[in-house]
């Protein structure tokens, strides 16, 4: 066991810090929030940097990086509160790489590395991710999906459906006939999302099997946990800086024991989340991920980001509450991430079932 980042990861991180400070400053993030769409120019920068192919095999046009390498970039995107389809696209690429046949991998992965974007169309109804009603008989996808993030702006949708009674994933071009946005949904984190109707939409390709759908749920949950952690870490870092400069009663407020003790407890939870998230991603890389642990990490990071961001607002006071200041980015994005692929309540149920049944 050695938890030090590799040299490559250190390089990726410092590179991403520089690039995002320059290319994704907070005012540009506010523009993305206002427009409800990702920033095309920023996306092409990320593509040029090779980030979209980071975890794709070299034989398919990527760089053959690990999930932990990918995590470095995702964490930096979260720290800058960037709204982009990076995570759903990376998730789709991972699932294609792990479960697609060679023809699909050879076709799709180079396109993703070069900038094609993918939305994940999994949940139905009130967020149901199992026993899906959407069908994909004879390559025609029909059904209604909800919480489809970046549904309008992405090139492809990865749609969980059943065909001949078996689960699988259909790759449907967003422009295909029969794909329509039924309703845009305004979500707490301002990530664009929609209810999408598929009415006999032609699938380009199909990934067979429940294993692929389950992997989508599990990896999706793990990446959402990573995002929750990253937002909590950023909010904490901002607050640790703030309490050292904010002076009240003639002293920096960070010198008050009440403030110190609260921050010590928050930092403890964030530290634990950091370990748990990265350990989990390492297990995915080794093929040793465990469903109960995925739920544990989801619940811990969800509880952590909610508590940390809310307490950071308490320590900031009024300044943290106004939208000219950047703290709220992490409060709302972090909360949204913690609910993605199911909230802490569902995760706790999974943990309880694993313990007691």
């Amino acid at each position: 066991m050695d938890l030090q980042p590799t040299d490559l990861q250190e390089l990726l991180r410092s590179n991403a810090e520089d690039v995002l400070a320059r290319e994704a400053p907070a005012d540009r993030v506010r523009q993305m929030e206002a427009s409800g769409e990702p920033d095309a120019e920023l996306w092409s920068t990320l593509v040029d940097l090779g980030w979209t192919g980071l975890a794709i095999d070299e034989e398919h046009g990527g760089q053959g990086g690990s999930l932990l390498d990918l995590a470095v970039i995702i964490e930096q995107l979260c720290r800058n509160a960037v709204l982009s389809p990076f995570v759903p696209t990376a998730l789709a690429a991972l699932v294609v790489q792990r479960h697609g046949d060679e023809a699909l991998r050879a076709d799709l992965l180079p396109r993703i590395a070069e900038g094609a974007t993918v939305a994940i169309a999994l949940a139905e109804g009130r967020g149901e991710m199992h026993d899906l009603a959407t069908t994909g008989e004879d390559g025609a996808v029909s059904g209604e999906k909800r919480f489809v993030e970046y549904a309008r702006s992405t090139d492809l949708h990865l749609v969980a459906a059943s065909r001949n009674g078996a689960s699988g994933l259909a790759i449907v071009p967003t422009s295909a006939e029969g794909v329509s946005i039924e309703q845009d949904l305004a979500s707490i984190g301002k990530t664009p999302q929609a209810i999408v109707a598929y009415d006999g939409a032609r699938a380009d390709a199909w990934i067979e099997g429940e294993a692929a759908v389950e992997d989508l749920r599990r990896l999706g949950s793990a990446l959402a946990s990573l995002e929750s952690y990253a937002h909590a870490q950023r909010a904490l870092d901002m607050t640790v800086d703030y309490v050292q400069t904010r002076v009240q009663f003639g002293r920096p407020i960070g010198s008050f024991q009440a403030v110190q003790m609260r921050l010590a407890d928050l930092a403890t939870r964030v530290q634990a989340s950091n370990f748990l998230v990265h350990e989990l991603l390492w297990h995915f890389g080794e093929g040793s991920e465990d469903p109960e642990q995925i739920a544990v990490v989801k619940a811990v990071t969800a509880q952590t980001v909610a508590q940390v961001t809310q307490d950071c607002h308490l320590l900031h006071g009024g300044i943290g509450f106004i939208t000219e200041y950047d703290l709220y980015f992490h409060t709302i994005r972090g909360k949204e991430a913690s609910l993605r692929f199911g909230g802490a309540g569902e995760a706790l149920r999974t943990v309880a079932n694993a313990l007691l049944d």
Partner: protein, 402 residues
């Protein structure tokens, strides 16, 4: 600064798995524990909580651990260890604490490694082999009635008289002073110097004339002591490290203790005992959504403790000194130990209050109520948790001191 245990060559980074050798060590250790964890040993352990006296089975266990090479595995080879690194120690502590097995971490880790680092050549040659076998074991004489968390204000005096030191004063919470062979004591050798710079550390036998040990019985069931020192004469070479530099020696001892700080494995033990009890004996609780939620939350709390303890051990294993990571582990795991045993009792109701002496009728051998009574000592001991929080804030997060 050289860390005497835990350093090894760097292997693969960002790797969260154990090596085959570490897994083998864990298996060997588990097999050893399974073989020695007899009814006789368990009965002695139940008794031990009330008496703090080692029984014959506990002694055999301790000797067996040493003979198998387990207890000093992390020591450098030059002192009879195997230089295996901090993770072996971590695994050792994890397994022993999970099963509640006796291990004198205080002597082997805190005192032993401090002597390795600060002791004279003759002290190392004479004492370390005896510490390894358990022949030489320690009580710690730091705390005084007016020097607790503010340890540096201690007043017990050591005065040089020819080739002897003469000690006068009083210590409190000198746990194990009634059955340890030696005392590891901090005393004031220069009353004129600023308080951190007039302290020295001594090692001497507890049967030296002039020492009085009086029991203080604790609500945890066990015993600690107050100890009195009246013209206690010890040889000049009983001093460990430099004269008047003792503060830095004992701070180092506290640092090394941090290798295995935070009893996180017992949280898992309580959870496992609870789950087993509920599944096998209380089906109505097993199906109760409140119980299910609480136990799932306990699992999360344990995972947080495991994450913090492992992070801390990984830093030490990499040859670095943890600062806030050790304190985070200590605070979380000891706070959680209290909460988890409290939860177990709350869910059980009447039965949760039953002491081990009741036999079969006490759930989990009275484990929950016993642990809950003991938990204050782990929360304030080894640096009280609120001071640890301040260490996290000031050393770890670099917040200004108040």
């Amino acid at each position: 600064m050289r860390v005497p245990i835990g350093h090894r060559e760097r292997a693969v980074r960002m790797h969260y798995g154990w090596t085959d050798e570490q897994l083998q060590f864990r298996d060997d250790l588990r097999a050893f524990i399974a073989e020695h964890r007899t009814e006789e040993l368990l009965a002695e352990l139940d008794e031990y909580h009330d008496t703090h006296e080692y029984g014959p089975a506990m002694r055999r266990f301790r000797t067996g651990l040493d003979e198998a090479g387990f207890s000093t595995m992390a020591w450098p080879t030059e002192y009879g260890g195997q230089n295996k690194g901090a993770f072996y120690l971590f695994i050792l502590k994890e397994e022993l604490e999970y099963w509640g097995m006796p291990y004198d971490a205080l002597s082997v880790l805190s005192v032993g490694t401090t002597i390795m680092r600060f002791g004279s050549e003759s002290q190392k040659r004479e004492w370390l082999p005896k510490i390894q076998t358990g022949e030489m074991n320690f009580a710690i004489g730091y705390t005084e009635p007016n020097a607790g968390t503010d340890l540096a204000s201690l007043q017990t005096r050591a005065v040089r008289d020819g080739d002897e030191w003469v000690i006068n004063g009083q210590k409190i919470y000198t746990s194990a002073a009634h059955n340890a062979s030696h005392l590891f004591m901090a005393a004031r050798t220069d009353p004129e110097a600023p308080k951190h710079r007039g302290i020295s550390v001594f090692v001497f036998p507890l049967d030296t004339p002039g020492i009085t040990v009086r029991p203080l019985w604790t609500m945890g069931g066990g015993r600690t002591n107050e100890t009195f020192y009246e013209d206690v004469r010890i040889p000049a070479d009983s001093i460990v490290g430099e004269e008047n530099r003792g503060w830095y020696t004992i701070m180092n001892a506290l640092d090394l203790e941090r290798v295995t700080i935070g009893p996180y494995a017992p949280i898992k033990r309580v959870l496992d005992l609870m789950v087993e009890h509920v599944r096998e004996e209380r089906p109505e609780l097993r199906d109760d959504p409140i119980v299910r939620t609480k136990l799932a939350e306990t699992k999360l709390d344990y995972e947080i403790a495991r994450a913090l303890a492992t992070t801390n051990a990984a830093i030490i294993d990499g040859g670095h000194t943890p600062t806030m990571e050790a304190s985070m582990t200590k605070v979380w795991s000891t706070d959680m130990k209290e909460r988890v045993s409290n939860l177990a009792m709350d869910l059980l109701g009447w039965e949760g209050a039953l002491h081990v002496s009741n036999g079969e009728i006490a759930p989990a051998r009275g484990d929950f109520e016993g642990r809950w009574r003991l938990s204050p000592s782990t929360r304030f001991g080894g640096g009280t948790n609120d001071v640890q929080r301040q260490i996290i804030a000031t050393r770890g997060l670099s917040l200004p001191r108040g």
